[in-house]
Symmetry: C2
Subunit: 346 residues, 2 copies
């Protein structure tokens, strides 16, 4: 456990370092502490803090820099009341237009707004659609053997995909299959729809058409697309600004990571419903050792929970960023509820 003075010193070090980027020495600290003590005393205290692993030197006679553990302690114990600027709240509210036609549009826009505010890179995920139920398949002929398949869920998600009908496929057959699917699978959760599509449906379809494989692949394809979770990434290029490492290869690797949804989702998984901060090596991913990740869920009542996340440098203004995330998750939840109410309640 730290003494009051040690806390003060650690806090001052983090504040100073995150805002200037320079290691902090005993003299500067002496001028910035609430109680006046000499630089020598501070040096002694810093020696203790270093022994505890909270701060570190870059070289033997440099000032101190917070370590991962130090940031951790700061975030857990020394954070300001996360006061969110009213102007920021106003910006958030005004940035959402009202002309959203899809949940995805809200989510994508969210990532951009949040990255503009924080100047970092952000991720957003819409509420889990796992429990969403199939409300209908549609098939729209486009002429010339082309067909657009559309799947709609009761949570308002729409996924469409074009495909081409094999020449040997009969349109009537296709229509009956669609009817069958709508009859049998409407109202079921997407997960179950997927399994049914692989199990009993092929069996039943046999009666209607002679080559059912191609069609089912299409449904499979579009369905798994609809039920797959895709992160929207905002402010990708901000990374260039706050990454310390400007080596092209490292950057390319990082950007590769941002494009791989599977890898992202393991990294961004929020542990609980609070605002979660992972610092440097705590984000078990070598590429992200110099970054901090703030993740949070947002709760859209019966429509499920989504995720927002901010990726910034370890030396980020934690208080401000956490405040922004906190304000943002609320506003986002509100926007989504608005959206759902506008279109689905009556």
């Amino acid at each position: 456990m730290l003494t009051k003075r040690q806390s003060d010193i650690l806090q001052a070090i983090v504040r100073h370092y995150t805002s200037t980027g320079q290691p902090v020495g005993s003299k500067v600290l002496a001028d910035n502490l609430p109680e006046r003590v000499s630089s020598a005393t501070i040096r002694n205290e810093m020696a203790s803090l270093e022994e505890m692993g909270l701060i570190a030197k870059e070289h033997s006679s440099s000032g101190r820099v917070p370590s991962t553990v130090g940031y951790r302690y700061y975030v857990d114990n020394l954070l300001d009341q996360q006061a969110v600027h009213e102007s920021d709240v106003a910006i958030i509210q005004n940035s959402f237009g009202q002309d959203f036609n899809k949940i995805d549009e809200i989510v994508a826009r969210s990532a951009d707004i949040l990255s503009d505010l924080t100047t970092f890179t952000t991720f957003t995920l819409k509420p889990e659609q796992k429990m969403a139920r199939l409300s209908g398949f549609r098939l729209v002929p486009l002429g010339n053997q082309q067909v657009m398949a559309i799947i709609v869920t009761d949570s308002g998600d729409v996924e469409s995909q074009n495909f081409t009908i094999p020449r040997d496929m009969n349109t009537d057959e296709l229509e009956s299959v669609i009817r069958l699917i709508n009859d049998q699978l409407s109202g079921l959760p997407l997960t179950e729809v997927l399994t049914r599509l692989q199990q009993d449906i092929p069996f039943k379809i046999k009666d209607y058409m002679h080559s059912p494989n191609g069609v089912l692949d299409i449904f499979d394809n579009i369905l798994s697309h609809a039920s797959s979770e895709r992160f929207f990434v905002g402010g990708k290029m901000n990374l260039l600004g706050f990454s310390h490492n400007h080596d092209p290869n490292t950057l390319q690797a990082l950007y590769g990571l941002l494009d791989q949804n599977e890898r992202l989702s393991t990294v961004l998984d929020p542990l609980d419903d609070s605002i979660n901060v992972r610092i440097g090596s705590e984000i078990s991913n070598e590429l992200l050792d110099d970054f901090s990740l703030i993740t949070a869920t947002y709760d859209v009542d019966q429509y499920g929970k989504g995720i927002i996340a901010v990726l910034g440098p370890t030396r980020m203004p934690y208080s401000r960023t956490i405040g922004l995330v906190s304000a943002f998750r609320q506003e986002l939840a509100k926007q989504m509820l608005d959206y759902y109410h506008r279109y689905y309640d009556q």
Copy 2:
């Protein structure tokens, strides 16, 4: 006009510099020229070349580097027969799958293939759709006030967009409008459809519905989307590798440019149907002074002409890159024709 020996020297300088990135001195050149001359002679010749503005020194005692004018001369007069490696041709052919459901997919894939091959950044634009004709509007109700509007052109382009019907809008009214539009506008070129939508159609619609504005905006919106030209960008992140300038601000500005289609299209406009090379300052855009841009059209017969382009460093292997572009435009045209034939000829 350059003497044979001057040509040889310029050629050797460009070759050497593009492959090593190091300024080239008289000694190295002496070893690499077809006819054996002393380094002193070469120094004299280089002095002439420099006076003509074809090469330049980085500092008073450094080797020479090609200038923009020098590259220009090289590209115009000294290029190898652009022999394309058979293996590259094979790669191009194999990289196109056959499971394309949309022209856009082919175009997007093209940008990726070409950027992988060149290791540079590439742009592709599908054949001009200006002359494409509207073959139909579709309107698919998705439930809960939501509707998906689909527009299909005779060139097989499909554009869809969700929107929400205002509560005061009558579905029957909407249907009659759709019918009207299909009746009146099918078969017309998209450009004309756009103007008609703004001129006589609103007048006619008045009879069918009391608040025509919202609907027409939607049509307008989706139509201009369909007829807008959008470049696909491949290998964005390759830019990190070949840009000399690693300054985050410059990079961000560059990436900003890649996302602005309007600005791109002024830059990428190919002057004619040959393969066009613009070097450094010739690409009238300050941001691109250290880059070279190779643009070319590809010709898909009656379906129009599209554009492909490669953005690389001024010191790129011109011969190889031009060869690749040349082979690629042919294969791409073939792929598109295949696609069209597969789906539109009977």
